[in-house]
Amino acid sequence: MAPKYKFTYFDVRARGEPTRLLFAAAGVEYEDVRVRRDDWAALKPTMPMGQLPILEVDGVTLCQSMTIARFVARETGMDGKTKLERAQADAFVDELEDLVPKLAMAMIFTTDENEKAEKVKELDKAIAEKLGKCEKLSGPDGHLVGNSMLWCDLVLYNIAYDIEEVYKSGTLQDYPKLAKVYDTVRSDPRIAKWIAERPAGQFNI
């Protein structure tokens, strides 16, 4: 029997990885469809808003990456325990998700040297601002909100992975509470297994 969920995204982490991390953390099976860049043009007009990712479930096609992640978080009980907790988790995601395209542009997709230097400057500023705000608000015990791993922790983990492993290792030292969240997520056994086994992707982002 086919899995209940079919997730389609590019062959990268970026905006799709929080959803994949959620499925992994919850031990929920899903179809992980990856679209190579060359195959995208033909597929684009068939998408609800001309973009990826999409999630197909119960005959409905959802789009918008954070909407999908929030929905899967809800399905897997990782969106928050109360309405207020859910809103607080949402707020962290709203603040952090802008970093994903900034990281991609600065690290991979800008080729002109001068433009790239500009983007790197912008990125450093955004990282300092946003991680600073989140550090101030984060819980002290390895969870951004409340006392359990929620989808906002996975969103932070995904961004922090790019920052620590690909962009500028050692950045998290300045943000000890966020560093705790990072460690809590990556030492979860199901997540650790996914990280070890997940495809490298078409780009390292």
Partner: protein, 204 residues
């Protein structure tokens, strides 16, 4: 004393979606506007969770991030969608309209005059018509994006369109019969109609 206190600058901006949801739901709230930002904002800013407004004070907590606040109020008011899947469908319309707003903003604030003219042309003549065509296809004939009743998705569509229309030339709604129905449903909701009549004229 209302249970909800919304604080923002004296404008529509990113707070208006929250005000519209309160209006549609008929929920009373304190609509606080920072009248003298140069004086009051530097003092107030560090008290907010992320140094920004709008914020919503409820149950001794301060919520921030306009879309998170709007979604929370919509849930309380039963305007967020009935099932998790419906709620996700509402969310995706919100996110799509957020992209429309962000792109408009980036165009509006472009400093280079030539680049700005180019971006404005692309936004008005290519992006908006294409995106609204997508949305018109998504909404179908019911006059509501999700379910058969007013949700935050319809209100967000109205609000973003209304805000963007202040600075840019919108595609004509006549070619988008589905979207036109949504606009009519939103503007004729009694709470929203009242708010639209009474809300202050502000510079943004």
């Amino acid at each position: 004393m209302p249970a909800y206190k919304l604080t923002y600058f004296n404008g529509r901006g990113t707070a208006e979606i929250v005000r519209l949801v309160f209006a549609a739901a008929g929920i009373e709230y304190e609509d606080v506007r920072i009248e003298k930002p140069e004086e009051q904002w530097p003092e107030f800013k560090p008290k907010t969770p992320m140094g920004q407004v709008p914020i919503l004070e409820v149950d001794g907590t301060m919520l921030c991030q306009s879309n998170s606040i709007a979604r929370y109020v919509a849930k309380v008011a039963g305007l967020a969608g009935k099932t998790p899947l419906d709620q996700a469908r509402v969310d995706m319309i919100m996110d799509g309209m957020e992209d429309v707003g962000k792109k408009g903003n980036a165009t509006h604030w472009e400093k280079d005059e030539e680049k700005k003219a180019e971006k404005k042309k692309e936004y008005e003549e290519t992006f908006l018509p294409q995106f609204y065509t997508c949305l018109n296809k998504l909404v179908g004939d019911s006059g509501h994006f999700v379910g058969n009743e007013l949700t935050l998705a319809d209100i967000t569509f109205f609000n973003t369109t209304d805000l963007v229309g202040r600075y840019f030339k919108l595609p004509s709604m006549d070619q988008f019969s589905g979207l036109k129905k949504v606009m009519d449903h939103v503007t004729s909701n009694p709470g929203i109609a009242k708010w639209l009549k009474e809300r202050p004229e502000t510079p943004f």
